[in-house]
């Protein structure tokens, strides 16, 4: 009797928990997707058709250049890989493995039955934007993606990285790490010092006119202040962006 009642309660609890989880997930999804996705209009009669980009070619050239296809070695070696992607290959692999299964990066088929772009194109193009600071349509010719796709991919990549790794890579040091930092700085001659702090200006070309007064820096340009705390390894322990310029 008691067992049955317990089982019922358990079932009810499981059911309720599942409902709650579903609701939370849906809310999260709506929130994320609603924030990220911008309506661009879609295809309409009488407008320019999509350009016939060769997505397979884009993916193939990236794979050929940096990863090697058909048993061939890649065209560019490890040095060039790190130079172009600004990160060693294992870190890239880790990032790619994490982002590969995201809904946005998966290869889809559009309404006309054409397969769409590959995940590697989007990741590579978004990393080019971050690494070289180039405009979105710069790597169109290499990655075979449109300007708007690359822009969206860059935004999705940053949001994904922040959601996934911010609690791990941008958090205050734990006790153990703090002890290590203290010991290291004490050995350098400043006991009790927890790393160095500094500010810099990040010039803001597209500052809206309405914010122009706030973000004026001492040189008369519009800029945002970045403040970081970092240690001897140049590991960033703290980052603060967005203070109106001083």
């Amino acid at each position: 009797m008691e067992d049955e009642a317990g089982g019922d309660k358990l079932e009810l609890a499981t059911f309720l928990a599942a409902r709650v989880r579903f609701g939370v997930l849906r809310a999260l999804l709506v929130n994320l997707e609603g924030r990220v996705r911008k309506r661009v209009g879609g295809s309409r009669r009488g407008r320019r058709p999509n350009r016939r980009r060769d997505f397979d070619m884009g993916a193939y050239s990236i794979l050929r250049d940096y990863f090697g296809v058909d048993g061939e070695p890649p065209v560019y070696g490890e040095d060039a890989f790190e130079e172009r992607f600004r990160m060693p290959r294992p870190v890239f692999n880790r990032l790619f493995r994490a982002i590969y299964s995201q809904p946005y990066c998966r290869r889809t088929v559009n309404a006309t039955g054409q397969p769409q772009s590959h995940a590697i194109q989007k990741v590579a193009a978004a990393l080019r934007v971050l690494a070289y600071g180039e405009p979105f349509d710069r790597s169109d010719e290499y990655c075979c993606l449109s300007r708007s796709t690359i822009g969206e991919a860059a935004q999705r990549l940053t949001e994904f990285i922040i959601n996934k790794w911010e609690p791990m890579y941008l958090r205050p040091p734990t006790d153990k790490e703090l002890e290590h930092i203290l010991a290291r700085n004490a050995a350098r001659g400043m006991p009790g010092c927890i790393d160095s702090i500094d500010c810099t200006h990040w010039q803001w070309a597209k500052c809206p006119k309405a914010l122009g007064g706030q973000y004026l820096d001492r040189k008369g340009k519009r800029s945002v202040v970045i403040e970081t705390v970092c240690d001897e390894d140049l590991y960033i322990w703290h980052l603060f962006v967005g203070c109106p310029g001083a």
């Binding site: 971050l130 690494a131 734990t174 597209k206 960033i236």
Partner: protein
Amino acid sequence: MLDVSAGVWPPRTYSYTLNGRSRRLLYYAADAGYPRYALFALPHPKPDTPRLVVYNRLQEAVRKDAERLYAVWWSRWCITKYTARYMSVPRLIKMAKAVAILHNMAVEHKRHGFVSQVRMAASEGEERPDSDGKRTASFTKDAGPRQDCVWGVAQSADDLNNVADSQGPIVGSARYMYMAETEAKSTSSHLSLLSDLAEHVWADRGRLLAPYARLPRAAE
């Protein structure tokens, strides 16, 4: 900064000894643009004694980390070198954060997981005895958070041991926050920190300044 005002950061459980005086308030090495708070160790504005010159030289070397970071960061992630092309501050923040995370991941990998080893040891959560040779006697950690006053003014080491715990405002109360803010921002303790640091560095100047070439002539 809000954490500092609320007394949450930096942690109060560490104490270190400088020039015979024990302190609890950990500090950052910063350049002269920062206010003269006890939280920052700034270079001395007018180094007119050899001690202060030596101290300024060392402080410069420690402070340089953050400057170096910007140089590396800008050459590695050019999106922060060029002018920002985004229209809203939240997108700028996101971009900078993502770049910082990628930078941290690359750093962690290139140091052969050195940081991650520290992290893994930390995440195990068990306190090992202090026998791992990295710990030095330059700072000590208390057993638990003290109910005592916030970080405490600089005092001689004997006084610190004699002070009774369970005095002072409760952690998190308004009075506590007020005291924390006052302490972290007090200029007088900043100045005493500077002079104590200068004495500390001066006492061991040969060893500490050896890595940095060209000792200023005044320090001889």
